[in-house]
Symmetry: none
Subunit: 417 residues, 2 copies
């Protein structure tokens, strides 16, 4: 038994809208433990939609449609489905009543073309739409085939899914088993290197372990299938523990725990504060930290020292060292860190200086070279050199520079004695 | 002749990621005038991918794949395509070379499993990946079938599409009639208010004019269909001129001209400099300005004065005014602006202070209340109050606060005598 998602709408073929409905439904099906192997997008076109249904009914038992239920002539999902299974359309008085009431509520008169939305295939049930005017249907046109339709407007679909579709699916004995996943996050190790370390786990079947990478970090998704989230969590826990032990310090968090969240929690736990001095990130590190509501408890602020005069004037960087070592150097990163820590009277100070590109690189100092300086509670300073690669975009280098700075502090916070 | 988009990745079937690649490719194909009628998402599964290829090759001539090109065992797009057409995989030394160089640049050693990425079907051409390690292929395995593959990482795919795929498609005689669009950008006016002013243009057929809104700004997309970009541009130019005249100061730029780009150009033209003092934006305004390569010419830096002690200590805000008017006030915004301008010796200084939420709001100072202060060449100060709405998210309020600050400066720069 499996489901298939069919999204209908020419606007998706033109790239005018992002198909977020497919992601929502995919996540919902996964949580219900209903397998689903294909998603199809097709335009508002009768023949092509029928062809898609031909294929889908040959490989799935639950067909979930979004889009094409509205009042305009290009909305043809419902009539095409009826025609595909050879059923006539019938007008449902309760839909007309519901629409009339909704229009009245908004102080409008229902225009004639809305009556189209009251036509559903003979034998189908109404899938009520509490917020909009176009209802969906729930229909078993022949044994082994179940049809669910939803309008394309995401907010309308969500409520219809939650309030009617989920109880219906469960009543059919589907979705009794759920899939629960945890996404383990790693920084400072590449996808292939991590994969080699934990390749043993990729052969497991329940839970499964799969790697994916993006934006400078690697994740391992650990997913378990079970009768309840608690049972699934019990299946995941020992595997997660083992992987975290193997990965050591490269593991930093799970699910929505970004590096800024993790560093924030560590600082809150120790009652310490942080300030930042930013050159190549230009404010991005501060923004990352202050994305979190309540970050004012441990993040006090910083200096964006984009121009060298600001490094000297506002942070006390030694002009001779700027000349001698250059703005992009370990020395300057450390002086920035100590300068901001001292001036803002925080426990920790981070300094970031690098070459974000695309211009400004040289043979000895290529684009992607970044130094992070860290000043600690006793004014001790240390630094790290990153080489993010000169083929990377400016936005990528700036983003991973800020992450790299947070990661440097994180490692210090969890390893100090 | 038509194209079909096939996105490969179990993560999409689990709803872990949004399929933004399909939207990007759909938009690109529309711009090239290449028809496309279907998009399919399928998991990392050999048999199912082959079944999808069976269907796709029966109804389309150009098959565009994204995802599944990486180094791990579940990345199987390329080998499945080769197998489908009965071609052996061959290792390309130039890919090994390119990968080795990229790993070296990042100071890492290439792990063995990366060699997999150098295997492509015999007879296929490499579609180079300038930023990542996994290349794609361009392949005509049999007459009437063209295969293009891309990695799933969006930023890598974009460059590969623009730099290699588009020239290739054009060289094949596809995408000859083009759709050329310009997206006119407006700040400080709502979608319905702007739509009322320019509604006349919505009835045009070539070019077409359509409004869309998002992230606090409104855009009008003006699109023309023609044999060449030059002819399309000629169709657009007079309409664009009229709309800009109607919109006046609310129009600020076109396409990729963000507010930061526009302000940067104005400052460059006048040879002036800018510094920023940020409270609620926490670095986001600086980041917006430094997203632009070359911004160091006019943007010198700033102070992230998240904690009040930093407003006083680093910017010279009067502690009595902080007590009397509160940190979120016009007075403090102006003192922040003047403080940073004076200390960093720039022509202009911007100060931003507000309540980003979700907590910290009150009846008199609700979430979404933001003050922007501006200090000018003669140390004159002025400010503006924004109310972005207390139902908005923290991320939204922070983003539009930074935009609102830039817009305030933009209006000053273009209207001064």
């Amino acid at each position: 038994m499996s489901a298939e998602i069919i999204c209908v709408g020419t606007e998706m073929l033109l790239g005018d809208i992002l198909n977020s409905n497919a992601q929502y439904l995919a996540k919902q099906l996964a949580q219900l433990g209903i397998p689903h192997h294909y998603q199809t997008v097709v335009g508002d076109n009768v023949e092509r939609l029928k062809q898609v249904m031909d294929i889908a009914t040959s490989r799935a038992q639950i067909l979930i449609f979004t889009g094409g239920l509205g009042p305009t002539p290009d909305d043809l999902t419902c009539e095409t489905i009826a025609d595909f299974f050879g059923a006539p359309l019938v007008e449902k008085p309760e839909i007309i009543e519901d629409m009339t009431a909704k229009f009245a509520q908004r102080g409008r008169v229902m225009s004639a073309n809305n009556r189209k939305q009251a036509l559903i295939p003979q034998g189908a049930d109404i899938l009520p739409n509490p917020t909009g005017t176009a209802p969906g249907i729930i229909w078993q046109p022949r044994p082994g085939v179940t049809i669910l339709t939803f309008p394309g407007v995401p907010s309308e679909m969500y409520r219809m899914w939650e309030e009617t579709a989920v109880p219906f699916l469960k009543s059919q004995g589907w979705g009794q088993e759920i899939i629960y996943s945890r996404s383990l996050r790693f920084w400072g190790i590449g996808e292939s290197a991590l994969a080699e370390k934990v390749s043993f786990y990729f052969d497991l079947t329940n839970p499964t372990v799969a790697p994916y990478a993006g934006n400078g970090e690697v994740r391992l998704r650990v997913s378990a299938k079970a009768a309840s989230e608690a049972v699934a969590a019990d299946l995941i826990a020992p595997i997660e523990k083992e992987i975290r032990e193997i990965a050591g310090l490269d593991y930093y968090g799970v699910d929505n725990d970004t590096l800024a969240v993790v560093v924030g929690k560590l600082l809150q736990a120790s009652g310490e504060t942080l300030s930042v001095a930013e050159s190549c990130t230009g404010g991005g590190l501060g923004q990352m930290l202050t994305d979190i509501s309540g970050s004012s408890e441990y993040f006090w602020g910083g200096v964006i020292s984009y121009d060298n005069s600001v490094k000297v004037g506002m942070l006390g960087v030694n002009p001779e060292d700027l000349d001698k070592f250059g703005a992009v150097s370990a020395t300057v990163a450390e002086q920035m860190a100590l300068g901001v820590k001292t001036r803002l009277s925080t426990t920790w100070g981070l300094g970031v200086t690098g070459i974000a590109g695309p211009t400004g690189g040289s043979d000895t100092k290529p684009v992607g070279l970044v130094y992070v300086g860290l000043a600690g509670p006793k004014d001790e300073v240390t630094s790290i050199e990153y080489r993010f690669g000169s083929t990377r975009t400016r936005a990528y280098i700036r983003y991973v520079s800020a992450c790299g700075a947070l990661d440097f502090l994180r490692r210090k916070l969890v390893t100090r004695v």
